[in-house]
Amino acid sequence: MANADVIVIQGSNMAEAHPVGFQWVMEAKRRGAKVFHIDPRFTRTSAVADAYLPIRAGTDIALLGAVVNYILSNELDFREYVLAYTNAATIVSDDFVDAEDADGIFSGFDPATASYVQDSWQYAGHERDSGSGLTAGERETAAGLRHESHGAPVAHQVRRDETLQHPRCVYQILKRHFARYTPEMVERVCGVPREKFLELARAWTQNSGRERTGCLIYSVGWTQHTVGVQYIRTGAIIQLLLGNMGRPGGGVLALRGHASIQGSTDIPTLFNLLPGYLPMPHHARHPDFDAWVDSIRHPGQKGFWGDARAYAASLLKAYWGDAATEENDFCYGHLPRLTGDHGTYQQVLNMIDGKVKGYFLLGQNPAVGSAHGRAQRLGMANLDWLVVRDLFMIESATFWQRGPEVATGEIVPQECATEVFFLPAASHVEKEGTFTQTQRLLQWREKAVDPPGDARSELWFFYHLGRRLRQKLAGSTLPRDRALLDLTWDYPTHGRHDEPDAEAVLREINGYDTTTGRPLSAFTEARDDGTTAVGCWIYTGVYADGVNQAARRRPGHEQDWVAAEWGWAWPANRRLLYNRASADPQGRPWSERKRYVWWDADLGRWTGHDVPDFELTKPPSYRPPEGATGPAALAGDDPFVMQADGKGWLYAPSGVLDGPLPTHYEPAESPVRNPLYGQQANPTRKMYDHPVNSTNPSPPQQHDQVFPYVFTVSRLTEHHTAGGMSRTVAPLAELQPEMFVEVSPELAELVGLTHLGWAHLISARAAIEARVLVTDRLVPLSVDGRVIHQVWLPYHFGFEGLVTGDSANDLFGITLDPNVLIQESKIGTCDVRPGRRPTGVALGELVQDYRTRAGIVPGVLPPAVTPGVPVEPSGSTGDAEGNR
């Protein structure tokens, strides 16, 4: 990042939420980089940026789309890079109809399931290859997440027009799609003055190309939206057009918010994934091992995903050891099967409906940290049992005793049957293991001290729970118990508490030869015949040569700037992904200034500052033979080696469920009618028509002015997420002692709020109170001839800890992005009133009064497709199992 010539930060308050990482932005600035910050609120990040653009929350695609339009209309793309490394020249099917030509909906839309059939989005000649059917099923299982480590399937024998003039080539489609995203439209939609926008567009394009690179930074200000994936897609399109991917000082940097949240995705504790982004099997789509593997590797396609059979077999071998053989498909039959959406929000609604018996919370506090806190608490109050493992007595452990619903009478302790086990957990210094930080870097932590009292690590808890379950089931002949009894579960332990050896687990994650026990060095050594066991194939190499590579700590000042000997990054200790793109098609650095990885013709291999993200000895001139598949099908100038065509995708013919190109939709709750399309919000967004859930009305619905203001939430430097690790810590609690709401002087005047006084905010879900901070960090925005007021809240507060306050997340309803099932919790609408909220029964009555005035009927949600938008039925049939 320090090598960037321009840095654009959007959807992130990096200076306050990732302060120590922000030193690299400042380093780049010292070296001459221009820094831009785009955010609804002026923050410390804005204060040190060269330019700050205030934006209406939820309109980032309109602004970024206008940058795409600026690049294309002025032909400022890095043409040589774009031609060679992206799919700009590829011809798309004649059947494709752009959302621009259909009022905001692409071709292939099925109104019954509110999902797309993607046949018409395919490349010309491959219309029947999409295999998508209706994509409602993919939405249910958040299938988009699988593409974190590899691209979606696509045919690679494609028609191209190297002149980029063909009307149906991706370049021209992109140009037409974003033609209406003009500086004037940015002003109308986003409230960003056009001069400000042009300053950004000029700086971004002038500081990208052969000699210069620009970096784009986002965090959950982008992901927590009903169009979150498309936000990031738009950013990626810009970075591809400008040639900023795979190059030093370039890239799209996701600033993740928790110590090992990247690791929690790589080795997922997610319902739809197995380690290394292998999908959990689906009961209908993956009847047997071969069908499952083929759905991952897509036989006949290019790229490293072609070896998926080896990764899959090796995972099952790691799970079930000697019991897993080639003959029994490596115990594939032991895996539980998905039938649809089993995500955390569906789970909570099922808890309310009495379908879930027991719930484990492992260092997580959904009563404060998840959207719609009341639904979370009502769900937990309707379990048979709940296990909370945490350092502190968090709100999710005491909701039955001290929660807001106890005050309103909705939860009565004497009538609440949930049995609660609180088990104290070990802290980060009381156990050893690895975190994976935001750039895929694994770092091993040494243990400093033993945990106090009954506190134990999760490693201890799950190892011993598993041991006990297996003891209790010993001798069982029930088929369902085989998977537990066959499990390899014999980790060495040490110390007075029999703590399992974390390094032994890391060794299994890395993988080993099942006959010799030798740890594998690279995932290319994984085999599909049972001779290797690999817990997470993308992590193979972290225990190469039997050495814990994540524990390497060669001081930074003794290394070059890449610092390859500090920790270990997946895959293969590569610090910059797709770095083959840092060289031109012939393998030469694009420029001396941006030299990173290049082809050394004398040695006959790739070399450079980093581990090359390419087969080491494959020359730039290599062309695959006819009929080649897998890695062998990648040409010497196909840098995006996990993509099915080796190219960066400006246009996504598959893999994204809500459209091949990003399109501006209004958030699920917005006070503004979509100025670009008849379609108001993402037509494929995931909605839950459960009585506890509701959506505030937006135009063109009636009563859209009942909740006239926009609210957004984010972090304070001094607090962490739901507060369990900060409101309990005295120095941090003292620094930020109270829940507050930031409002502009204009809104304060309008509503009658006084600085340091009280306000309460009301949505269809809840009413919360906060102290008022009147500040010009927020400005009213002029949008389409109207004034839009936005307010900001921290989301860290709850009713436990040293400092307490109402929870901002209580205001949100539950509406999700269709690709990854992440909730829209960066924007909602509300009313703002002076003074404190009512308490007890009157609180519920206030919210009910608003619901009545807004015409909200429990469980009845606004239609996915905005009335009046014409939709042609797709005519296709598929497994339309989507329960919306």
Partner: protein
């Protein structure tokens, strides 16, 4: 003691004549302060760790004396953080030594109005029994068409993202083997 020594013993003189005109360093020293040592100096050991808050991954040095964590500082060797920590990272010693930390098992029985104590071993055993019971009550062998399901929807889990990779690995492995697939994480949120 000569005049020169007495003058040098006077902080104001050192401040006016020495290299520390603001009186915040050498000029302000006294024999007592000169003899002070940081509590990190006599630490029994130093563990190399990583900050548990955001995902930047700042290096930490954890100083331990007599089995107690006495200080947590930024690790200057880290090429990521170069020795720096933010207010949260700096406060992480207070996180692990907070008087609010729970160190014993607590149990709330159904319809109970107060917490009770419970032995850790008993708690683990009770949880194991409840897992098996929930599995038994909600087990699904096959779907309506006879296709395998091998699962229970009666158990759910939601983890934070301060879990180690090794922990997540065992969590997913065990839950998958028991047929519990409703396993989620902060990473979804």
């Amino acid at each position: 003691m000569g005049l020169r020594d007495r003058l040098l013993g006077w902080p104001v003189y050192r401040q006016l004549t020495g290299t520390d005109p603001l009186g915040r360093g050498a000029a302000a020293r006294s024999p007592r302060s000169a003899a002070l040592t940081p509590r990190t100096e006599d630490a029994d050991r130093v563990a190399r760790s990583v900050c548990p808050y955001c995902a930047v991954g700042c290096g930490q040095r954890v100083f331990v004396t007599d089995g107690q964590v006495t200080q947590i500082e930024g690790d200057p060797d880290s090429p990521i953080s170069r020795g720096r920590l933010c207010p949260k990272g700096t406060a992480s010693r207070s996180l692990i030594t907070s008087p609010l930390r729970q160190t014993t098992v607590r149990y709330r029985r159904p319809y109970g109005t107060e917490w009770e104590d419970l032995d850790l071993d008993t708690a683990l055993d009770m949880i194991a029994d409840r897992v098996l019971a929930a599995r038994e009550q909600t087990w699904e062998d096959v779907d309506a068409e006879g296709r395998p399901l091998n699962r229970t929807l009666g158990i759910a889990s939601l983890g934070g993202a301060t879990l180690d990779n090794e922990e997540n690995y065992l969590i997913k492995k065990l839950f998958t083997a028991m047929g519990a697939l409703q396993i989620e994480n902060q990473a979804r949120i």
